[in-house]
């Protein structure tokens, strides 16, 4: 039996850095906004009502408004597309690294993480410089005469998607690498031996066995992707909002802390429900 006090640091960390912020966020979401930011300690469901309805400034009547739902939906779609792209790029990359000779693996893994030694903001701006009308891509395309006018690469959903993929790709590659590293390649030989061609062997043996890695990588890309702030702000030019920007705005210009907290709480709830469903399904398949 371990002495209970040895658990104190772990419990304190969880309480201070995880439970407390979540509690503050949740509580703030049901309070009344103060005029210049902050909150008045007066319970109000207004923040959650605002998510779905627009309150008329004159007669206080509510009309259904999907603006915020659209932003939520767009965030889910953008993050979803980024997750799928990361998967398509990440799986072959992870496979390649995991099948290198033992001495080379760490070198390749380091190369994957090198860009992350640079601050995310700097990287995002660098991507913007590459994509913008005067950037090198459009410069080359125009100088060789492929296009007359610059292609609109920056300030749109495409740029945001590219930003998300480049931000979160290693979070897909690393868990997949770990899963492939553990993969017993004699199973692949067994599949070929049992009359599976390459495609069938991949879908019937490789993918199901790599599933835990796929799920881990998918969550690690999707969850920060939904709430991402920098990519839509810089690469989207602030034109197409994602949930992260909307939340940020509530704490800055709009000074509506409860609404920002409510958005954050909903994002968290959606994520938790999704996680719960995935965990339940995984547990059921284990049994």
């Amino acid at each position: 039996m371990k002495p209970a006090w040895l658990l104190t640091p772990a419990i304190a960390t969880i309480l201070i850095f995880m439970a407390l912020p979540i509690a503050i966020t949740t509580v703030y979401s049901v309070l009344t906004p103060a005029q210049y930011g902050g909150v008045i300690w007066e319970p109000s469901p207004e923040a959650y009502i605002r998510l779905l309805f627009e309150r008329d400034i004159f007669d206080d009547s509510l009309t259904f408004n999907t603006d915020y739902l659209q932003i939520l939906g767009r965030s889910v779609v953008q993050a979803g597309i980024a997750t799928i792209l990361c998967l398509i790029i990440g799986l072959p990359t992870a496979w390649f690294i995991a099948t290198r000779p033992a001495g080379q693996k760490s070198l390749w893994l380091m190369l994957v993480t090198v860009p992350y030694w640079v601050n995310l903001l700097v990287r995002t701006i660098a991507l913007l410089l590459i994509l913008r009308d005067e950037g090198p891509i459009n410069g080359v395309l125009q100088s060789i005469g492929l296009t007359d006018d610059p292609l609109p690469l920056a300030y749109n959903n495409f740029a945001i998607g590219l930003g998300l993929v480049s931000s979160f790709l290693p979070f897909m590659i690393l868990p997949l690498y770990a899963a492939i590293e553990r993969f017993d390649f004699s199973l692949l030989e067994a599949a070929y031996d049992l009359h599976a061609n390459r495609r069938k062997a991949f879908f019937a043996v490789v993918l199901p066995i790599l599933r835990p890695g796929l799920i881990a990588g998918g969550l690690l890309v999707f969850i920060p992707g939904i709430g991402s702030y920098l990519a839509p702000d810089i690469l989207g030019g602030g034109k197409t909002l994602m949930l992260g920007n909307l939340i940020g705005m509530q704490f800055q210009g709009s000074r509506n802390w409860p609404f920002g907290a409510a958005l954050a709480t909903i994002l968290m709830a959606v994520t938790l429900v999704a996680l719960f469903i995935i965990a339940r399904r995984a547990a059921r398949e284990e049994a």
């Binding site: 067994a190 031996d193 049992l194 009359h195 061609n197 066995i209």
Partner: protein
Amino acid sequence: MARVYGKGAAAHHALDHIDLTIKANEFFTLLGPSGCGKTTLLRLIGGFDQPTSGQIAIFGRDVAGLPPEGRPVNTVFQHYALFPHLTVAQNIGFALRMLGRPRAESAATVARMVALVGLEGMESRRPDQLSGGQKQRVALARALAPGPKILLLDEPLSALDAKLRMRMRSELKALQRETGISFVFVTHDQDEALAMSDRIAVMQGGRIQQLGRPEEIYEAPANRFVADFIGGANLIPARIGANGAEAVGLGVIPASGAVGDAVTLAIRPERLGLVADAMRHPGDLGPLRVAERIYMGNELSFRLDGAEVPLHVTLPRGGVRGAQDFAPGDAVCIRPEPGAVRVLSS
């Protein structure tokens, strides 16, 4: 047929001039120490590797360039390679699913295979819920389900404990008889090979050293390697003289050959009798001295000094012949059974 890895002087001849015909409905064993080429040969038959030169035909059809999935051959892997995410039944039915067999037919085949290997009631278990012996059976059933013309077995018993290994030997043999397909069995365990095989190919250095029935291999080893690897033998250097082979410390042993030739005499330890030097008969060899007596339960093993190499003799305990016993230091002679001495060219 040959398989060479690398090129030029550094080339490693994993298989060298292998010419082999495996018969239908035969339990055929490739026997040899690790690195002898037996697994390489198995992988060539299975299609996991391609020969550098030569050809492989399965029932008259050249399978060059055919990938593993296209060959009428299935494999029981050394560590089974069961699919961990599939149940026993799904593992056994895997090949049928890949071949696109109708569902009902597959289910019937799987049920038949489950019964064949005695795994009824285990169908919905996963590999990690099975014992070693059960995994072994799943691997067998899985490889047999698609109805291969040849079953390849890569040291399938090596991961089992001794007792289970003994039982699986008879089961494998019975399974081969029952299914009537050729088994090609790879092992480094000579007891396994002798107990199960119709024919054995003893391999060493990428070449087949001897090919024959277990009795032939054991009783009439073709060379020093086979004599030593199978069952262990006393290998005694000798030279052909006027009256037979002359060996230091032993005397003259009847043997034919050109006078002056250096030969090796191979004698199995269990085909030698021991007599006290005082009771010596003509034809007994010696005198030698007992250097060590080892008690091994059902038999006694003696190490004898006095010849050019130490000699080993094992005597059964109990029974008519079991009355004999000697102590270290005793002067003894060895008495080979008739036909026990094999003369091999050195």
